[in-house]
């Protein structure tokens, strides 16, 4: 009996693994597509049927980071010989790099936009998670008057599709001078994420027995100390999960970034599709921008993967 059940168990396991594998492949295929596109020559990127075999090149990345202009005539051999290898890649594609008065290469706006994305996403995540954690702690541990109503109110800020308020937001931001500022987007994303963070963190903190803090209180710690020494470490898993969600939301946000920013504070999402080539839409450059854009979320999630796995099941199971 035991042997049979182990065997069927093993078979079941194999089937499960096969299914997971197939699902993973399906989910990874767009990422494979965009990543390969980022390394393809433009011709092959747009060829029908798609070419599977190609010689990988990093020209799209060079283009992504530079400003270019269409070549009007053939390049003189001396200029071509004097150019560094990465400039040659661009020249080969029929474009030349834009240079400033000193002859230095002019960078594209992509690095700036990328840094903007980092600043805005990280800051708003820290703010949303901190505020969310403190608020959730209050709701979880103290008798708050009208607790249910307040929590509903907090959640209700997420009930309207955000884009509905885009125009009023734009007008308000312009009126108070938050248009195209980092602070503007940070406030917006924080406000957007904090309701989510409160609810998520409340679930996690509710799961932490209040006796932990009470033990600390009785043993001579203040509530603040108990919060930092006991509650925070215990809630680490929940905080990590919440942070990943908030970060992804802020990092991916497109619509408001498109409407509320255009230069100084513009983030990567609205910038990448605007990256057209000098003559035509250069899909390889867009793909290169997208691949780099994927990395922070991937790294962040990877670093927190242990917490996340525990966090998902932890918050989900209610007693």
């Amino acid at each position: 009996m035991a042997v049979v059940s182990t065997r069927s168990g093993r078979l079941g396991n194999r089937i499960a693994i096969a299914i997971v594998l197939v699902i993973t492949l399906i989910f990874l295929s767009p990422i494979y597509w965009i990543t390969t596109t980022a390394f393809k020559p433009l011709v092959q990127a747009t060829s029908v049927p798609p070419s599977v075999l190609f010689e990988p090149q990093i020209t799209p990345f060079v283009k992504l980071f530079t400003k270019r202009a269409q070549l009007t005539g053939p390049v003189s051999p001396e200029v071509y010989e004097a150019a560094p290898w990465w400039e040659k890649l661009v020249l080969d594609g029929g474009e030349r790099l834009a240079r400033d008065g000193n002859g230095d290469v002019v960078f594209s706006a992509y690095p700036d936009r990328f840094v903007n994305s980092l600043i805005i996403a990280i800051t708003s995540t820290i703010l949303a998670v901190s505020l969310g954690t403190i608020t959730a702690y209050g709701f979880s541990r103290f008798r708050v008057k009208g607790e249910a109503d307040l929590l509903f109110f907090i959640l209700s800020t997420r009930m309207l599709p955000p884009i509905v308020v885009a125009i009023p937001m734009f007008l308000m931001y312009r009126a108070v001078g938050l248009n195209d500022t980092h602070v503007g987007l940070i406030i917006l994303y924080t406000a957007f994420n904090v309701s989510f963070a409160v609810w998520l963190m409340k679930g996690f903190i509710d799961e932490i027995p209040k006796e932990y803090e009470e033990a600390a209180l009785v043993d001579g710690y203040t509530r603040m100390q108990a919060f930092f020494k006991i509650v925070l470490p215990e809630a680490a898993t929940g905080i990590a999960a919440t942070a990943v969600f908030c970060f992804i939301t802020a990092w991916n946000e497109y619509a408001f970034a498109l409407i509320l920013t255009n230069r100084r504070a513009q983030t990567a999402p609205p910038f990448i599709p605007s990256q057209v080539g000098t003559g035509l839409q250069d899909w390889t450059v867009i793909a290169a921008g997208t691949v780099l854009f994927l990395l922070p979320v991937a790294i962040f999630t990877f670093l927190l993967r242990n917490h996340l796995l525990r966090g998902m099941s932890f918050g989900a199971i209610r007693k």
């Binding site: 027995p209 006796e211 932990y212 009470e214 033990a215 600390a216 209180l217 009785v218 043993d219 001579g220 710690y221 203040t222 100390q225 006991i230 470490p233 215990e234 680490a236």
Partner: protein, 367 residues
Amino acid sequence: MTEIQLRNIDKHFGPVHVIREINLTVKDQEFVVLLGPSGCGKTTTLRAIAGLEDIDSGDILIDGKPVQNLHASERDVAFVFQNYALYPHLTVYENMAFPLRAVRQNREEIDKTVQSVATSLGITGLLNRRPSALSGGDMQRVAIGRSLVRRPKAILLDEPIGSLDAKLRESMRVELKRLHIENGSTSIYVTHDQVEAMSLADRIVVMHEGLLQQVGTPDDVYRYPANIFVAQFVGSPIMNMAAADISEGSSGVSVSLGGVSFAFPAALSGKLKEAGAQKGKVMLGVRPEGVLLSHEPKDGYVEVTSGIIEPLGSHDIVDLKVGDIVLRARTKSGFVAGPGLKVWARIDPAQAHFFDTTSGSSLEIRL
């Protein structure tokens, strides 16, 4: 030297009156057990003393100083929680050192204290483990250890061994007693298990619905329960309780239970009058060991029929049909062979308790 005094403590949770006018003094080095059924307010009382729960009115005094307005951290008591509340992210050592770090003791001192407490509890081998890798009994030892390191004024324990299995409970009971004797710290211990209460307590405090029912030594509470509630709550199996119809005859007083008359000494009627008992409003309580049995008719014994028998090894508990009620008697094992047999029974007057039916209070008659 620590004395804890509760004066007129009152506490509501919304509309629920959880603690009603509690007055209690716990003497230095005393081990007091709060005993009562689930939901009677034991935990709330203990938490109020620790400062984890505010009270509506009254005074809590520790060594004569009112503390009801102090934070928990300023009261210098330790609390052992039913779920132990060991910090999962810290090792056993760190858990035990945690209260000492609050008072910023130096490393060596902390280490010395933790090691010595761990030694006395026999948990030195566990110091590097995480709580999740401990058995229930070990967690409980660590929790007690954490409460001892600081040498607090008093230790408050909320059902600390309630979640252990029966066998472990018994050995932990002994260990707790030993620790209390060694450390002599003033302790308040909450439980709903009367065996625990009887075996550990210097004094038992019986609570019911937020009211103190009786405060006394285990012996007092067992032998002279103050009311029907205490009588039935303390002792196992529970005390027989029946309405008693009392009439005076020529040879003495007869007490009729369920229509069957038992002989009692003549002194009873005078004492009942003295206690102000009203006719028809008296309950008689007698523990199973106060119901005496005989195989043959004897003077003062009445004929009854045996019912279900519970053999418990060391003794049997025998149900007796007495008129239209059932009395339970405690006998030697195998004394009554089976159900449906004729036996003769008598109630030991010295073990009989009389209560006022209306108030439930004991009439305090001792024969």
